[in-house]
């Protein structure tokens, strides 16, 4: 009897949803069915901007969250930080759908996989929500702008420094091992391309690439294992993302020993973590770090989305490579010589 009742209830619900879904037109976003002009008059305390990270455990998003919440506090609006437990597009897709139904005013998202999220981003934009990407873009989507590092340039800068580091080394060939994140992620691919272009025509060559899927443990395990097995077959590491540098230097004894054993072993990384990167420089196991500004990504995303919600024009130049307005949050470059000065350490 109970089972029959449950099935009947489910059928009734389904029928109700089918009738409602087929007779109603798409519901616009926001708490009221307001036109674009009327949205401009919305009170700050009624505005909600959601910011989505890639994964709860990923430390690079902590400054992004702090930046977003700082902007929210300044503007007097609600900032809703959401992040899935695993860096999976399906989970981010779910969160996006929930936020669309919640009727938030704006969404800023760092995409685990840009292609996989373009449809839900488009759905959000079509329903009237202002959507942007930060850190990792979804170029094929209708997002209104991208806020982040000029990743190609960051990778190119790393390549330039790698060339500089080996200029007087007197080696016939410089073999570089590369650490990457989620294969196909726009930010990492752009950095790899930038690095590859910077070393083109030189004696530097990438001989190995290891994807850690944005997992810190996997990154450390991977670089340690490869260095242990093939340390004498490489001269440098290029870390396209700073996952191994989120933790203390003690976590990478193999790489550290390999680096210290030979002055011609070099390490260049993207990302600077104020709490942990200095220790690597101090120990002499890191040569160059090209840092991103995640705080600024979160901050600028919220501020710009707020302006759009209030009907103001988007004040960011269109970047031809990205194909959309681009807010460059800049990079910070620290070397083993000047890291204290660059990072403001006494």
């Amino acid at each position: 009897m109970k089972k029959t009742l449950c099935v009947l209830l489910a059928l009734v619900l389904l029928l109700f949803c089918a009738c409602s879904a087929s007779t109603k037109t798409a519901e616009p976003a926001g708490t009221t069915a307001a036109s674009a002009g009327e949205t401009a008059a919305k009170s700050n305390k009624d505005i909600t901007i959601a910011v989505i990270g890639q994964q709860t455990g990923n430390v690079v998003f902590l400054p992004a969250q702090a930046g977003a919440e700082a902007a929210g506090k300044e503007l007097g609006i609600k900032v809703d930080w959401q992040s899935p437990i695993r860096a999976e597009a399906e989970l981010q897709n779910e969160i996006m759908n929930n936020l669309i139904d919640l009727g938030v005013d704006g969404i800023a998202i760092s995409c685990t996989t840009g292609d996989a999220l373009k449809d839900v981003i488009n759905r959000a934009v079509d329903s009237g929500i202002k959507v942007s990407c930060y850190d990792v873009d979804s170029p094929e989507s209708k997002r209104l702008f991208y806020a982040g590092t000029e990743n190609y340039k960051a990778g190119y800068t790393c390549g330039e420094y790698m060339v500089k580091l080996f200029k007087d080394a007197g080696l016939d060939k410089v073999r570089v091992a590369q650490l990457e994140g989620i294969p196909g992620a726009n930010d990492i691919e752009a950095r790899k391309k930038g690095f590859a272009d910077a070393i083109k025509g030189t004696n530097i060559e990438v001989v190995y690439s290891y994807p850690c899927n944005d997992d810190v443990d996997k990154a450390i395990e991977g670089v340690e294992a490869y260095t242990r097995a093939s340390g004498d077959e490489i001269d440098a590491w290029f870390m396209a993302g700073g996952w191994p540098y989120c933790v203390a230097p003690d976590a990478m004894p193999e790489v550290n020993a390999w680096k210290l054993a030979n002055p011609n072993h070099k390490v260049v990384t993207v990302d600077i973590f104020p709490d942990t990167t200095p220790a690597f420089f101090k120990m002499g196991v890191l040569d160059v770090a090209v840092g991103q500004n995640f705080h600024e990504m979160g901050y600028q995303s919220v501020k710009t989305l707020y302006d759009l919600v209030q009907g103001k024009a988007l004040n960011a130049p269109v970047d031809q490579t990205i194909g959309a307005p681009f807010i460059n949050t800049g990079v910070q470059i620290a070397t083993s010589e000047d890291y204290k000065e660059v990072m403001g350490i006494q």
Binding site: K3, C6, V7, L13, L14, C17, A18, C19, S20, A21, S22, K24, E27, G53, T56, D80, W81, Q82, S83, P84, I85, R86, A87, E88, A89, E90, N93, E94, I95, N97, N98, L99, I100, D101, L102, G103, T113, D115, A116, L117, K118, D119, I182, P183, G184, P211, N213
Partner: protein, 294 residues
């Protein structure tokens, strides 16, 4: 849970939200029905998440890179997963491996195959028609929900009204008695693992269709969602007990909870903890209800 969420956040009751939530948990429900049959026999399948990912990769690969018709690509995706299911069954039956170990191994192998096939890159550039299963609607209801409903009816009838279905329950209750009564339990075991993986694969294809991309990392940890749905739905991990309706309800609890936590703006860092607490509470309530009846 629904009442509290609806009271706190009216957006919960929006038709689009309800349909979106149902679509989200339909993949868990479909895979859960597959895992249910395995759990009824007293087994377990940890490879469901990996075959979920593999099926998505294989079907998108066939479609995008080899230009195969969409329906053939999807069938091949389901077959790829079913092969792993059959392999699990064969190892349990003939190698006498505990299901936990056999499926732990195939979990790694299937995931490894995903990475080898794709070199880690997602498979995209799919024809528009591929997305119909995951994004399309019929009579205003997402196709994924229709698939869940049809599979639920089919397997509810299979488990409760067919001889094979009754034998699956009998095996879970007492495998030795079932064997002695002349039933081929080896064939039954291979069948449930194959069907289980096929359903997990189909769920993976629905997700690949929804995202428009075949991701080698899809389904990481998904096996825990599928198993949780089955257990929350009242199935016993020692076998012999469980229902399709219970599994659907279990999947719905997971889906509604995830939806509620976002709608109620619960801090992301607390969401996992709350999920765990609710799962324990749901199963405890069910256990108490059962012991009250006994």
């Amino acid at each position: 849970m629904c009442v509290i969420t609806a009271a706190a956040e009216p957006a919960f009751l929006k038709v689009s939200n309800l349909l979106s939530t149902a679509r989200s948990f339909s993949a868990i429900a479909i895979a859960g029905i597959g895992v249910l049959m395995i759990i009824i026999t007293g087994g377990i399948d940890l490879s469901i998440g990996s075959v979920y990912g593999l099926a998505g990769v294989v079907s998108t690969y066939c479609c995008s890179l080899f230009g195969m018709p969409i329906w053939i690509s999807m069938i091949l995706g389901v077959l790829a997963g079913a092969i792993f299911g059959a392999l699990n069954g064969l190892m349990v039956v003939y190698c006498k491996l505990p299901p936990f170990i056999a499926t732990l191994g195939t979990m790694q192998i299937a995931r490894g195959l995903c990475t080898i096939l794709t070199q880690g890159y997602p498979v995209s550039n799919l024809p528009g028609g591929y997305m119909f299963l995951g994004q399309g609607k019929f009579l205003g209801i997402p196709m994924a929900i229709w698939c869940m409903a049809m599979i639920a009816v089919l397997f509810a009838v299979f488990l409760n009204k067919t001889v094979t279905g009754r034998r699956i329950f009998a095996m879970g209750g007492n495998a030795e008695s079932t064997r002695i009564s002349g039933i081929n339990i080896k064939a039954l075991i291979i069948l449930v693992y194959t069907l289980g993986a096929a359903l997990g694969s189909f769920a993976g294809i629905i997700t690949a269709s929804k995202l428009g991309v075949g991701q080698p990392t899809a389904g990481n940890g998904f096996e825990m969602d599928a198993i949780a749905a089955v257990v929350i739905g009242g199935a016993s991990l020692s076998g012999g007990e469980g229902s399709v309706l219970g599994t659907i309800i279990g999947a719905a609890i997971i889906g509604v909870l995830r939806n509620a936590l976002v709608l109620l703006r619960v801090d992301s860092y607390w969401q996992t903890l709350i999920m765990g607490v609710v799962i324990i509470a749901a199963v405890t309530a069910d256990q108490l209800r059962k012991s009250g009846k006994a």
